[in-house]
């Protein structure tokens, strides 16, 4: 074999690898298309525009939480307290709305409060040195308990909520025929996409997840960046909570139970590695859509709700196995 032959071979291998990488990035998109095709064949009303909008609206709550979770997981962390933050902040906002605070102000305060709760997670992890899993597990039970104390275990609902146009508009409204939660999700996606892929904050996030020590040595304020990331997660969770209270015209003390799992599943299905440093927020959007399509599609096809849970678990396992193969 001559030298040029060998060079050509190497070049070809590198090219192949690049093509493969691109293809594997498309994996979640392909999975989504296949799922949508299967569902359409089984029940053509899946493609009904009304149903697609309905599906997007169902995805929006999980989508918002999962976007925040993407940042956390990119740093190699995890945030189990998202569902509890959602419950506590939505109860707070609902209580304020009930006692006469204007809807938007009450919701804004709730979202800021959610950011503070997320910041608390961040401080526990950075200053306290607690493992993210343990820290957020502890705050999850604390926030959930606080919600029960605050609401006395009862749902919060009031006539104001049922009468206020703005309140109902956030979760149930349509703007030019597009559900408002979908618009909120897409705007949040664009903002977080810019933050992650076009700004230094995003590069710091990836650097942190890739190699924390190297990131520290190269002058990144590791603790500050990390804390902000948990603040983002808290903000996204409480924003999702505002949509939820509007959709249910009440704040439920047990709202958001298990939401952390759906959010983590969306992130993982989207190809983000739980080890951190690798993944994209676009993948998370697709991951959330896959979970939404699974739920909506299986409901439309008429699969028993018992089997639905099994199917969801299997899909996640397949995604993780494919992810592991990619690494090898």
């Amino acid at each position: 074999m001559t030298n040029t032959d060998r060079e050509q071979k190497v070049v070809k291998e590198v090219k192949d690898k690049k093509v493969l990488q691109k293809l594997s990035g498309l994996g979640p998109v392909l999975a989504l298309i296949v799922l949508a095709l299967i569902t359409t064949v089984m029940n053509p009303s899946f493609l009904d525009p009304n149903n697609l909008l309905n599906l997007l609206r169902q995805v929006s709550i999980n989508g918002l939480i999962a976007f925040g979770m993407t940042f956390v997981i990119l740093t190699g962390g995890i945030d189990l307290s998202v569902g509890a933050i959602l419950a506590l902040t939505s109860a707070l906002s609902a209580m304020m709305i009930t006692s006469g605070v204007p809807t938007l102000i009450a919701m804004l305060i709730g979202i800021i409060f959610g950011g503070l709760l997320g910041g608390l997670n961040g401080l526990l992890i950075t200053k306290g040195g607690a493992a993210p899993f343990i820290a957020s597990l502890a705050t999850m039970t604390i926030f959930r308990g606080a919600t029960y104390v605050f609401t006395d275990g009862n749902p919060i609902t009031s006539k104001v909520m049922n009468d206020s146009f703005i309140f109902q508009f956030i979760g149930r409204g349509y703007f030019f025929g597009i559900p408002v939660p979908v618009i909120i999700m897409l705007i949040s996606f664009l903002i977080l996409y810019m933050l992650l892929h076009k700004m230094t904050f995003g590069r710091k996030t990836y650097a942190l997840g890739g190699n924390e020590k190297a990131a520290f040595v190269s002058g990144i304020k590791v603790n500050l960046t990390k804390t902000w990331i948990y603040v983002i997660s808290g903000i996204m969770s409480s924003a999702a909570g505002m949509i939820l209270i509007s959709r249910l015209s009440s704040a439920q003390p047990d709202a958001g139970t298990g939401f952390e799992m759906d959010a983590i599943a969306a992130v993982v299905l989207g190809g983000t590695s739980l080890a951190g440093g690798r993944g994209r927020i676009f993948g998370t959007l697709i991951g959330a859509l896959i979970i939404g399509t699974l739920n909506n599609g299986m409901n439309l096809i008429g699969i028993s709700s018992f089997y639905q849970q099994i199917v969801k678990g299997i899909v996640i396992i397949i995604a993780v196995l494919i992810d592991r193969r990619k690494k090898v």
Binding site: N50, N54, T157, F165, Y174, G177, D254, S305, F306
Partner: protein, 318 residues
């Protein structure tokens, strides 16, 4: 260059969509879906009906029996049924109901997780022209065709009649009440009290919030204050089971519970409780489906359908 053309094309499409949307007279800001088409009631045979069912949970025997009642009745008449499990999550249930509306079922049978959280979905169903029948719990808002629930007043009367028969006229008894203001508390209490009036001597009525531990504590206090009571009526089985523990030293007290829960029936079989007024969840499911059939025949359906109750009595009191 291609990017520019693409973005111009997308922008133009969005603009055209917006113009068409406004010209077609739809509301730019709205709460209800501007594309939703309203179906008008047509008379349908049971075999042509698609029934959508959303239950609050399926990990409790009570609700599994409701499902049985629904599916068995529907299958006999050849209707199609789709049952979703809300897994006790208000959010999951509201997604489920939305999907059922999308599936264009003819009628919705809902057992709400929470009566306030289901309201928006009932309103959505109203907009889509799909009649809603609720089981056990109703909705705070929207139009509900009918609520199928146990006849709690009748149940209270059954408990009182049983006590009069077993204990004789004028016997001293106590009553454990449920959460103040709850419909079950009011109706079960009214049924019992009205029948007992003049026949039983109700020496005390205390609330224990439908809770077993509270039932235990309250019954202990009652036993202290009124050691001579012959009977105790509890407005649910949980409180009655608490009272069983509290009155262990005095096993002759006739304890009557309400619900017919698995634990309650078990206690009756062990003779710890004298009787329990059992609800019949399977019958509730059946009645809900029958109400739907009646509606699609064009007959009027009563807004409240009472499901019958059954008194389960320990052997020695039969």
């Amino acid at each position: 260059m291609t990017k520019k053309i693409l973005s111009i094309a997308v922008g133009a499409l969005v603009l055209i969509y917006a113009i068409v949307f406004v010209v077609s007279g739809r509301a730019v800001f709205s709460i209800s879906n501007p594309f939703q088409t309203n179906t008008v009631l047509q008379h349908k045979k049971p075999s042509e009906l698609k029934i959508g069912v959303s239950l609050s949970t399926l990990n409790n025997p009570f609700f599994i029996s409701i499902r049985q009642g629904v599916t068995e009745t529907a299958k006999q008449s050849g209707s199609k049924v789709q049952v979703y499990d809300g897994q006790n999550s208000t959010n999951k249930q509201s997604n489920d109901v939305e999907d059922l509306i999308q599936k264009k079922v003819d009628v919705l049978i809902i057992n709400p997780v929470d009566s306030s959280a289901i309201t928006p979905e009932v309103k959505s169903a109203n907009e889509a022209g799909i009649p809603v029948i609720t089981i056990d719990r109703s909705s705070d808002g929207g139009k509900v065709l009918s609520l199928v629930a146990s006849d709690s007043k009748e149940g209270g009367k059954m408990a009182a009649d049983f006590m009069i028969k077993t204990l004789g006229q004028g016997a001293k008894i106590a009553e454990l009440q449920g959460t103040p203001g709850a419909s079950a508390t009011r109706e079960r209490g009214a049924g019992f009290d009205n029948t007992a009036k003049g026949h039983l001597d109700i020496v005390t009525k205390q609330t224990a919030n439908f809770d077993r531990t509270a039932g235990l504590n309250t019954a202990e206090n009652i036993a202290q204050a009124h050691p001579d009571i012959k009977g105790l009526f509890s407005q649910n089985d949980e409180m009655a089971l608490g009272a069983v523990q509290a009155l262990k030293s005095n096993p002759d007290v006739v304890i009557v519970g309400f619900d017919g829960s698995a634990d309650g029936i078990n206690a009756v079989e062990k003779r710890q409780m004298a009787a329990t007024v059992a609800q019949k969840p399977k019958e509730m499911g059946k009645l809900a489906v029958q109400a739907a059939y009646k509606h699609f025949k064009g007959e009027k359906v009563s807004s409240q359908i009472k499901s019958p109750l059954e008194l389960i009595v320990a052997d020695k009191y039969k």
